[in-house]
Amino acid sequence: MSDKPHLGREHGQHLYREMLRIRRFEAKCAELYQAQKIRGFLHLYDGEEAVAVGTMQALEGRDAVVATYRDHGQALARGLPMGALMAEMFGKVEGCSRGRGGSMHFFDRARRFFGGNAIVGGGLPLAIGVAMADKQLRPGAVTACFFGEGAVGEGAFHESMNLAELWDLPVLFVCENNLYAMGVPLEIAEAETDIFRKAAAYRTPAEKVDGMNPIAVEAAARKAVESIRAGNGPYFLECRTYRYRAHSMFDPQLYRTRKEIELWKERDPIPRMQKWLVENHMVSADELHKIDAAVETEIARAVAFAEEGGWEAVEALECFVLMDEVPE
């Protein structure tokens, strides 16, 4: 992690802590899935932490986020309370979507988190619209739209890329390229495997970024957001990353080798960040211990919050199918 040497002690530790929160949260989710506390589909973010954490550093509260079904990392990095996420996966009314969404559909209006979307590519048109509204109502705000490399096969991706540039919209496209669309390797799905090159067809500035390095992602995202805020229209980042776990909890992973996974783990951003902080005297052993303990405490509290949560009344099943008013 030598490409950005001017990283302060506090911020370096922050990046490390944020990634660790996600990694440990996901481990707890897997455990609770085995214990059948969490059900349905569960897509974990292990390995991709640097993408969400790095990107969110460039965003402010006024900005918007459109997430994917692999949304735990995006939500945690955006600042959604961990307890509300865990409660959501427990199906509790205290969940961030009142138990109606589950793992794939975290929402948080206050934090302008426009939802985990479980239709691949389905969030892209939505992001275009949010950016249209912001351009008129909240000038300077940016919409960060996350999607996987699988989404670029969808027409909605191309239609949305075109509209963003055509209408000069403040959208930060963040492609989390983890090389597999479920089990389909990128090279058998796309004629052009350098995803960022697709943006050229729409005249949108684009970069490929080391998605295993939070500092590189943050630097790229800051540059992109600065350009967007300056009124230069959308920006595209292809973050090359890897998911360590199976696509979901039902995936025997026949499409890739253990060796490949091990090779990517050598580039794991969390131990590398830790090593880098230690070597540069930016964290003490005591501080590392405290970070670790704080993360464990936060997770334990989140689980307790979820356990203690209540169930939505079945009588409220049809609440919000039709809204009585537009929430302000």
Partner: protein, 335 residues
Amino acid sequence: MNDKSSQSVTNRMTYREACKQAIREALIADPRTFLMGEDVGLYGGCYAVSKGLLEEFGPKRIRDTPLAEAAFVGAGIGAAMGGLRPIVEIMTCNFSLLALDQIMNNAATIPHMSGGQFAVPLVIRMATGGGRQLAAQHSHSLEGWFAHIPGLKVLAPGTIEDARYMLKPALADPNPVLIFEHIVLYNAEGELDPDVTGVDIAKAKIRRFGRDVSILTYGNSLQKSIAAAAALAPAGIEAEVVDLRVLRPLDTATIFDSVARTRRCIIVDEGWKSGSISAEIAARLSEDLFFELDAPIRRICSREVPIPYAAHMEEAALPRTAEIVEDARNLVKPR
């Protein structure tokens, strides 16, 4: 406001003009409202509904889109979630299938799936129906399909009054509202009642009162049903014509009240019979009004074929006034 927008004093207008006046009124009333869709600007709308509005309101509020239904419908959903009040025009409902994912998986689900944190106050207008020899891919009636989906409201203006006044309450509604404008009706002309300044989009409307049989219908079939009722009157059969006009949520109170009085019913629906809105209404009548009925429920729907081009075949495929008359005669005066 320029000269082109100045209006004639007469209340006589076409359905097309009524649609346009509604849009124009909405654009004047709320700076958050804009119209977006294919050919709504320079071309003036495929059915000329928005002709002249680009000149009056400019390209930011009358926004021509590329042929990208998924993206511009999805953008309408996102814009509504972000605080705007968009009107999205899908040129015809036949193309709405390209945006079905956005409508069904985003617009209809997000309010509930987010636990009520986000509303989607969006209006999507689209042309529907057959009868102009446009062949199968331009003659679908898909409003019944959309009426299947919880989270949506589905309107079908069958009169000039509804074309003029449904948009305002639809835009004021916090939910996604789909408005299906029938292609045959755009040229229809009529007089607007100056005393009417709005319509209730929660209620069906009885267009003609009668004691012998209820004809439940909507859209262009409403006009056929009104014609059928007029043809039946000289024979002493008084048909009541109920304009459903809101297909979701159905105004079952008005429907049940009418059928409970007449005890006989014909449902006229331009959709295909299988799995149609007519099937839904018939099922609800069977569930809740079975013992009030004096005769089996009758349905007149489109024949189950892709709507063909040739005039005689198209006519045979769509509901016909003569069929309604014949069915009513058989129901009211059985052999």
